[in-house]
């Protein structure tokens, strides 16, 4: 009798325990979903000839194993940088639901896609840009002489030895200032006016997106500072990034080196600096440069040294915590 009673008691106790466990599990399930998938995605919509190969390798392909994320390249058909609205939908849908791949780092030559328009929070957007004339010169000579990265590949203008000056003074296509209109459209996004060369609205929207949609936009000339800042602002992905970047030898820290570049003469330089398209692209570059500089300065407590960034203690703490 006693034994039987004990048995019931055991049974009841175990049942209650299981019920509690079940209840707890039910409660904890929605909690695990509080973190939206979007914060487990970093998108780097890289711009050609801004040092993006070096950057992608340093922060993604060299770190994914250690920090446990996936890296995926978005290959755009025919190197077009814009998608149709339906394509954007499937893109947004694909990358936010492909849970096996989360957390994920996506990179590709694609203009900014606004996830919010599809009712989803934006992922973490990052980017780096380069002084527009430097970028164009790099592109111009890259097409002619290639780089030290993919040596065998024959580039589209191989064998053409025209200098940028010669091209510019005869009004050639490769050095046309329309070629300069690249970085603004990448940030402006998928609106029709974004690719309209010299459109002031495009510049305005690009600036606005940088402020509202991007976590960080750095510059090629301060790639190391950018990496240091990423390490402390998105540590889940980029923990140890600066240390790794610093350990790279000179070749790997500057992966693709366009073989031959002839700096433009003063006359060409002067004409470009008078060009409206250049002036807008330059204005955009300066805007980002100033923004990055201010953020970096603040993060390093005014010292502006990347090494201190990782070591710097938090500049806030919690207190007067209740219930204690």
């Amino acid at each position: 009798m006693l034994w039987k009673k004990r048995k019931v008691l055991y049974f009841a106790g175990i049942s209650v325990f299981i019920l509690i466990l079940l209840l707890l599990k039910l409660n904890s399930k929605p909690k695990a979903n509080v973190w939206p998938t979007s914060s487990k995605i970093v998108i780097y919509n890289r711009i050609p000839k801004t040092g993006s190969t070096t950057f992608t390798n340093a922060i993604a392909y060299d770190l994914y194993k250690e920090n446990g994320f996936s890296v995926l390249h978005v290959n755009m058909t025919k190197n077009r940088q814009v998608m149709s609205l339906p394509d954007q939908y499937t893109f947004v849908n694909n990358i936010t639901t492909w849970t096996e791949r989360l957390p994920a780092f996506y990179h590709g030559h694609v203009a900014f896609i606004d996830f919010q328009r599809f009712g989803i929070a934006n992922p973490i957007y990052i980017n780096i840009i380069r002084e527009p004339l430097e970028r164009l010169l790099s592109h111009y000579y890259f097409l002619r002489y290639g780089d030290n990265y993919r040596i065998g590949l024959k580039r589209s203008r191989a064998g053409n030895n025209e200098t940028f000056d010669e091209c510019y003074s005869r009004g050639g296509k490769d050095c046309d200032m329309k070629q300069m209109w690249i970085q603004i459209p990448y940030f402006c996004g998928h609106y029709h006016f974004c690719t309209e060369v010299g459109n002031p609205e495009a510049l305005r929207v690009a600036k606005q997106n940088v402020l509202e949609k991007y976590l960080l936009v750095g510059t090629t000339s301060r790639m190391r500072d950018m990496i240091a800042l990423l390490e402390v602002t998105v540590p889940d992905f980029f923990k140890g990034a600066l240390g790794h970047f610093d350990s790279l030898d000179a070749n790997r820290a500057h992966l693709r080196y366009t073989k031959k570049k002839i700096p433009p003469n003063d006359q060409t330089l002067s004409m470009i600096r008078r060009d409206e398209v250049y002036k807008m692209e330059r204005e955009f570059y300066d805007f980002i440069n100033n923004l990055f500089d201010a953020v970096f300065k603040k993060a390093t407590n005014g010292i502006s040294k990347a090494d201190d960034l990782v070591k710097l203690p938090l500049q806030y703490h919690f207190e007067k915590i209740k219930p204690s």
Binding site: G171, M177, D266, Q267, L269, S270, R273, R274, K279, M280
Partner: protein, 616 residues
């Protein structure tokens, strides 16, 4: 041996390790703090240095003591067995002196005058260099806003923020360049033997054009009956367009460009691109048919979007300035352009809206080099662009021509801005004349008459005499001081009797009076005018001899005699003006071969070295 056993010592070792860790942590933290301290020290470093200096300055073997001068505040002095040492800062103020440490730092020198006393080197040739004006640099003075591209003469902002023509400045600009030209011809560096000149643009291949982009640039080469090889250019008129351009010579010495062109429309313009050596800054100097709101040079605004207009900062690597060219050459006619880019770039870079005195940019040969010369709009250019070192002849010509063109019917060059002196007790409303302007003008014109062999200059010089006979109160320049006539630099009522302006006007009168012997033709009215100049000069010299002692304080000179009429303190001449007095007095003493004037000048030189007249 029990004490060495692990079990019994375990806790002690733990404690030791913990203590060690805490100690290292502590050291780490305190190190961080000491780094901040270093920064603090850097901030206070200035004070430390100052203390060092004070210690150095103390005379060895002396003791600090208190001293007082003229019932003033007590000062810190030093005293040794033989003498008492006062602070130099006090001596400078009390005795109006200048002092500085020698280059090796071992000697300290006190000067009474900061200005160097000079005398004319040789006997004066009325057609030779004008005084020591070859050492002048009118175009780099901070009050010179620009050398106008309309008239090729300087414009002043001394008494009015809107640039205006100040005839004295224009004449000095002309005389400066004439004097350099004369000295260069003596030392065989004449512009007439232009062996260093570079001629560009003769070959059609030298003419480039930015085709394709937004504007097409057409170039048509042909032979003009009158001008020879020319190029007809048709290019977009916007300043952003480089147009048709020629690369210039890179030699930094060749900063003057000259060419002939014929613009067909008011949109036509030309631009010189220059590069600064110091910071690679590219400077565009545009010459445009625009009034520019009364400015003679201004920075171009950049229009980024409809509501965003800025003047680009220098850090962007390129700045663009425009000079108002309207009125220089008539549209549809050939004219010669000559510009010194060293001057134009310096004046442009000094042209900020809220500029301070320190913002005056002075450039020297080598500070920049020219890159290109470009043309836009509809125009024809002769295929001969000359690049040279100097433009003395052209600058002199521009000044003389301005004088001829801008002389009013009273023979005067009036000053278009108000001038007030003695705390507005004496005010000259705009449109006043100056004996110094008249005298300087005559000095330019007599030289131009001989140099260019054109009688219009002589006629203009003769016309300039008229105002010397009209009283200050009637708009002339003639004043009177107790029966002695005076030619007034500032013809105020009552008179101000400025000495240096008077002396310069005498030189002008002398220059014209000496022309008599050189006129071949029998022009009676001209002869009469030259005689008139002679008489005005002689009357002036008589007054000078009478009144000169009034300007002598026994330790320096007085700038003017305003104190006589106004009953104020005398207006003592600054040392640089004292030097001008000395030079001019020696100049006139040389012309007059007058011992008294010469000895007075020698005494005045003595004042600059601390000599003083004797007490009674």
């Amino acid at each position: 041996m029990k004490c060495l056993r692990w079990r019994s010592n375990r806790h002690r070792i733990y404690l030791l390790v913990a203590c060690g860790a805490l100690f290292l942590l502590n050291r780490h933290l305190t190190q961080e703090e000491s780094r901040i301290d270093e920064e603090d020290e850097e901030l206070t470093q200035v004070d430390v240095n100052e203390d060092d200096k004070k210690i150095e300055c103390e005379p060895p073997g002396s003791i600090e003591s208190k001293c007082i001068a003229d019932n003033g505040k007590s000062m810190k002095c030093w005293k040794d067995e033989e003498d008492v040492y006062f602070p130099v800062s006090y001596l400078k103020k009390r005795f109006d002196m200048t002092g500085k440490l020698g280059k090796d730092g071992s000697t300290f020198e006190l000067y009474t005058s900061y200005a160097k006393m000079r005398s004319p080197d040789s006997t004066y040739d009325p057609l030779g260099p004008f005084g020591h004006f070859s050492t002048y640099s009118v175009e780099t003075r901070d009050r010179v806003r620009c050398v106008s591209a309309k008239t090729d003469v300087p414009m002043s902002t001394q008494w009015d923020p809107i640039p205006y023509y100040y005839p004295i400045q224009i004449s000095q600009y002309g005389l400066q360049h004439y004097s350099r030209m004369k000295l260069d011809s003596i030392s065989n560096k004449s512009e007439a033997s232009p062996k260093d000149d570079v001629i560009l643009g003769v070959n059609s291949k030298e003419w480039k054009g930015a085709a394709g982009m937004h504007e097409t640039t057409e170039r048509l080469f042909f032979n003009d009956e009158q001008m020879g090889k020319v190029v007809n250019i048709s290019a977009g008129a916007a300043l952003a367009n480089a147009g048709a351009y020629v690369y210039l010579d890179k030699s930094p010495d060749l900063h003057v460009i000259s060419f002939d062109w014929k613009p067909y429309e008011a949109n036509s313009s030309f631009t010189v691109l220059a590069k600064m050596k110091q910071d690679d800054l590219l400077v565009l100097i545009n010459y445009v048919y625009s009034e520019g709101n009364g400015k003679c040079v201004w920075q171009e605004e950049e229009r980024i979007s409809d509501d965003y207009i800025v003047q680009k900062p220098k850090k962007d690597g390129q700045v663009s300035y425009s000079y108002s060219y309207i009125g220089n050459s008539p549209i549809g006619e050939w004219s010669t352009v000559t510009r010194d880019l060293l001057v134009d770039v310096a004046r442009a870079l000094s042209s900020g809206d809220n500029r301070k005195k320190d913002d005056n940019v002075v450039l020297h040969a080598g500070d920049l080099r020219l890159v290109s010369l470009g043309f836009r709009g509809e125009l024809t250019v002769k295929q001969k662009i000359t690049q040279r070192r100097e433009q003395h002849s052209h600058a002199f010509y521009a000044a003389a021509d301005w004088l001829v063109k801008n002389q009013n019917d009273r023979g005067g060059w009036s000053v278009p801005v108000e001038r007030s002196i003695a705390e507005r007790k004496l005010v000259l409303p705009p449109g006043w004349h100056s004996a110094m302007a008249q005298g300087h003008g005559i000095s330019v014109l007599t030289r131009a008459f001989k140099h260019f062999n054109d009688e219009k200059y002589l006629k203009s010089a003769a016309k300039a005499l008229k105002l010397f006979k009209i009283n200050s109160s009637d708009g002339g320049v003639r004043g009177e001081f107790f029966g002695n006539i005076w030619y007034e630099e500032y013809p105020t009522t009552p008179g101000s009797f400025v000495l240096n302006g008077f002396l310069y006007s005498l030189i002008g009168l002398y220059d014209l009076s000496q022309l008599e012997l050189m006129i071949d033709e029998n022009d009676e009215t001209m002869r009469a005018k030259i005689q008139e100049a002679q008489e005005l000069y002689s009357a002036g010299v008589r007054s000078l001899k009478q009144l000169l002692p009034l300007y002598d304080t026994g330790s320096g000179t007085i700038y003017d005699l305003r104190h006589v009429a106004l009953g104020t303190a005398p207006n003592l001449a600054r040392w640089d003006y004292h030097a001008v007095h000395v030079y001019l007095l020696k100049w006139i003493a040389g012309i007059e071969k007058d011992e008294v004037l010469s000895k007075t000048a020698d005494r005045w030189i003595g004042y600059a070295y601390g000599k003083r007249a004797k007490h009674n």
